[in-house]
Symmetry: C2
Subunit: 212 residues, 2 copies
């Protein structure tokens, strides 16, 4: 390991410091670079030396922003978790209006163009990492649980009882996760058909299962 | 790279050869070891030197069974693809009897004890690898497509039209894949409830969607 400079700040230093590198890069730049390395090569390639080369700075400048690699990795997860939670809250604000519309909107999520594609790639890479790392596992489980709880509220708002709302929420979420994993299966029109089917099935009441 | 001996056989050599190592290890042992490394450390850790250490043989003995690392990786995929296809055929043989029962049986697959757990871990590791490797992507897409086609036949046998049978098959398969990915979500009884719900929903005919 390289010698670490004493850590003073976590934000980019003011322009008057002697170290030019600190002016140009923020913590956020390193986190984003780490996400890209994670997508391209997996967690084992998220290495300080590799990122420093990619960002065209010295390895030492990393330590102005992070204690060590573990600190960076924790913040990569924190950044992903926050983005995922904000998304949930943002959609939740719309719930008051129309849970049925919201459920249909959720079903179109896997098919939302390039930014959705990038987000899905980052998320799948984090899921891979979570298979072998308890810290990542924890973040993934937490985000999954929050999303499922939120979707369950939509089904509760539609009158399904708590147990069944939760099951339906899981099935909807499972479908979304699987669409992003099985992206090569089926044509665009088949994807539209199956997404419509999931929507119809999940909004159908079964005789004897829900008193709703 | 180490010097390769000339390749003569792909099976364990007869006991009369001077090379003791060849007596003890088969191609299958190397493939299984590679699968374990893949699960534990990802594709970047499936390295000849690491496996040779684990199997307590010399690096050179690898080349009695495989041309190179690429050859081993191709065979890891082939072995997984064959096992997955055999499973499909075996279940397909039972289809004649009762498609409805078969669909319910498929829904219990994610919850089948230790051998299912190991198979799921290998499969998730191969999916991770497929995110970055076209050869692995190809094998995964092929296995997914075969499984979905097979499940679609069950729904066709129940009288759903071809388009809808395919959508329902995808949804069932998506649920299975997601259960293995989201294994920490929910208690055992919640898992039973949602699996039952998926079964009921997928066997429910929607007014206007299927003439079946």
């Amino acid at each position: 390991m390289a010698e670490k400079p004493v850590k003073r700040v976590r934000r980019p230093a003011p322009a008057s410091t002697p170290d030019d590198e600190r002016e140009n890069l923020t913590q956020e730049n390193w986190i984003r670079c780490a996400q890209e390395m994670l997508v391209d090569g997996g967690i084992d390639l998220v290495r300080i030396d590799v990122m420093a080369r990619k960002l065209k700075v010295t390895r030492g400048s990393f330590y102005w922003h992070f204690r060590d690699r573990g600190d960076l990795l924790a913040q990569v997860l924190e950044s992903w978790r926050n983005a995922a939670t904000e998304q949930i809250i943002e959609r939740f604000d719309r719930l008051r209006d129309e849970p049925r519309g919201l459920i249909k909107e959720l079903l179109t999520l896997p098919f939302r163009g390039r930014s959705a594609h990038r987000a899905a790639r980052v998320e799948l890479a984090i899921r891979d990492w979570a298979r072998r790392d308890p810290m990542a596992r924890n973040a993934v489980d937490d985000v999954d649980a929050r999303r499922i709880s939120y979707i369950a509220q939509c089904f509760s708002a539609l009158g399904f009882d708590i147990v069944e709302a939760r099951s339906r929420a899981f099935v909807l979420y499972a479908y979304e996760v699987a669409e992003s994993l099985l992206f090569n299966q089926g044509t665009a029109s088949q994807k539209t058909q199956r997404s419509a089917l999931v929507g119809e099935l999940l909004l159908t009441r079964l005789a004897g299962m829900s008193p709703g």
